[in-house]
């Protein structure tokens, strides 16, 4: 600022005054005021400077060569850019390349306004179907034994640059229940509002316990409890938590942070992409086709498991124990049925299994600890250490080899080691299921299982005592 000018101090006073105004009266739409009236700052600035110069000329004081210096023009340019952008964002959403960009801006800079949704109710049959139309937000659906109606209530949060827009949007999107045959549709009407606002709903829905639920969402979580009907969830981005579901579950998500299902009587069918998956106490078949990159925890599955991932495919007939899959690891304990596992790169540890295992791995270490009755095992890996813990006295016919690597026979007789060029083979046994293990590169270890490694699951009948030979 020019020395002796009052413009600099006045600008500082103005900025301080605006912030003070905002703090004292938060409801003042300051952003709107600035967006619309900033050109008057330039007019006032120019006017004041003009008066100053004329005054200096009248008083015969030295007149500056340039009324507005170069740095002041830079500041003017900055004001124009900021003010123009604010005005554009406020008035002309169509100028933005996409509505998504403006939505992002609303989410970043807009304010949040909360509203209570008027509760709605609709009578329905005990086994009616409830369809939740596509919406943004979270839904909690609970089945009730006594309910003969579908009840919906909740809150709506609207983000926008000013409250008037949010109020208008809230009025335009009432929560509705619409009956269509034996189906009740839950509609949030979020698609009615303009691009200048963004609404998310928190829905609480109570339905008769025999109902089926079909939910569609854009972004938000589904939390469903105590239902005897089927559950079908389809969303772009959701977390799904299900508990005590009597029917089948089908979940198809483009993106998810978690899918959790605990206590499902029917089958579970998962599709899509996501991170964590937790399935527990599932009575029906579990089928998973998709890509899940987080922590996977499966336990107590009464029917077959079919897991087809881009990185790993697993199948077994029953899982009384558990399977854990994380980044680069697969740990399973107490599996029943022919087990088939095909993976690219990860470390595998499987313990307490008593039926055939077919394992193909591209890269990774394998640690196998079968149960007391050693089943047929067929294992191939291109690269990785192999370790097999066998129960003393169990029957088997072993042939394990490594093309390049060390061999450790900690089991002792009747196994014998034959050294080859760079690797070795361990063969031998007492007659029984074939154990075929191959690794292209890696150490091969066969050892005796310790006592705590051969514990039997409580629901598995005790196998007959092996006959020592």
């Amino acid at each position: 600022m020019r020395r002796g000018s009052v413009i600099g101090p006045l600008i500082l006073i103005g900025i301080g005054g605006l912030f003070l105004l905002r703090n004292v009266w938060p409801e003042i739409p300051l952003v709107d005021i600035i967006a619309k009236y900033w050109p008057f700052v330039l007019i006032a600035w120019g006017g004041l400077r003009l008066i100053e110069i004329l005054l200096w000329a009248t008083l015969s004081k030295p007149i500056p060569r340039n009324g507005i210096s170069g740095s002041e023009w830079m500041l003017v340019f900055l004001i124009c850019i900021v003010g123009g952008t604010m005005y554009t964002a406020r008035h002309y959403t169509a100028w933005f390349p996409t509505g998504r960009a403006f939505h992002g801006m609303v989410m970043d800079f807009g304010d949040s306004y909360d509203y209570t949704l008027a509760p709605v109710e609709k009578p329905c049959a005990k086994n009616c179907k409830v369809l939740i139309e596509s919406f943004r937000g979270n839904a909690k659906i609970t089945g009730s034994k006594d309910a003969t109606t579908v009840n919906a209530s909740g809150r709506e949060t609207v983000r926008s640059f000013q409250q008037a827009d949010a109020d208008k949007a809230n009025k335009e999107m009432p929560l509705e229940l619409i009956q269509q045959g034996d189906q009740i549709i839950v509609r949030t009407n979020q698609d009615r509002v303009s691009d200048r606002t963004r609404a998310t709903a928190e829905l609480e829905i109570t339905v008769p316990i025999g109902s089926s639920v079909e939910g569609h969402g854009r972004t938000g979580d589904f939390d469903i409890q105590t239902l005897n009907g089927n559950v079908d969830i389809n969303s772009d981005n959701a977390g799904v938590r299900l508990e005590s579901i009597g029917g089948d579950v089908r979940v198809d998500l483009r993106k998810s942070d978690i899918i959790r299902a605990i206590g499902v009587k029917g089958s579970v069918d998962l599709k899509g992409h996501g991170q964590d998956v937790e399935l527990q106490n599932i009575d029906g078949q579990v089928t998973v086709a998709g890509t899940y990159t987080g922590q996977i925890q499966l336990s107590n599955l009464a029917k077959p498991l079919r897991w087809e991932d881009s990185q790993i495919s697993v199948s077994c007939e029953k899982l009384p124990g558990q399977i854990h899959m994380g980044l680069g690891e697969f740990t399973a304990d107490n599996l029943i049925g022919p087990i088939r596992l095909n993976a690219r790169s990860r470390d595998i540890q499987i313990s307490d299994f008593s039926q055939a295992l077919d394992l193909t791995l591209e890269r990774g270490n394998i640690d196998l600890r079968p149960g007391k009755n050693t089943p047929k095992i067929d294992v191939h890996t291109r690269s990785g250490d192999l370790e097999l813990a066998l129960t003393e006295g169990s029957k088997f016919d072993l042939k394990a080899s490594t093309d390049r690597g060390e061999v450790h026979n900690d089991f002792g007789a009747p196994l014998r080691v034959d050294e080859t060029n760079h690797g070795a083979t361990i063969t031998g046994g007492s007659g029984g299921p074939q154990l075929r293990l191959e690794t292209g590169r890696g150490a091969l270890t066969v050892r005796k299982a310790s006592a705590d490694e051969v514990t039997l699951p409580p629901d598995t009948p005790k196998p007959p005592k092996p006959i020592r030979q």
Binding site: G46, P64, G67
Partner: protein
């Protein structure tokens, strides 16, 4: 007097341009005339002010060399 007028016009050129810029943008925002149509006024105004500077500038005196004529 010409010196004072020249300096004065040179000094007020910036503030006048600033007022004009602010006015045109405000007119746009209040729906009078769009800035897309009125922006040439800024160039015209700048030209007028430069012209005024030239008019009020002190005429350049031709240097006729040192007194006594050329040494050649």
């Amino acid at each position: 007097m010409n010196d004072i007028s020249y300096n004065l016009i040179q000094a007020i050129r910036g503030p006048i341009m600033l007022i004009a810029l602010g006015s045109l943008v405000a007119m746009d925002y209040f729906g009078v005339y769009g800035f897309g149509r009125t922006w040439p006024i800024l160039i015209i105004l700048f030209g007028v002010l430069k012209l005024l500077e030239k008019v009020t500038a002190r005429p350049v005196v031709q240097d006729s060399g040192p007194a006594g004529g050329s040494a050649i």
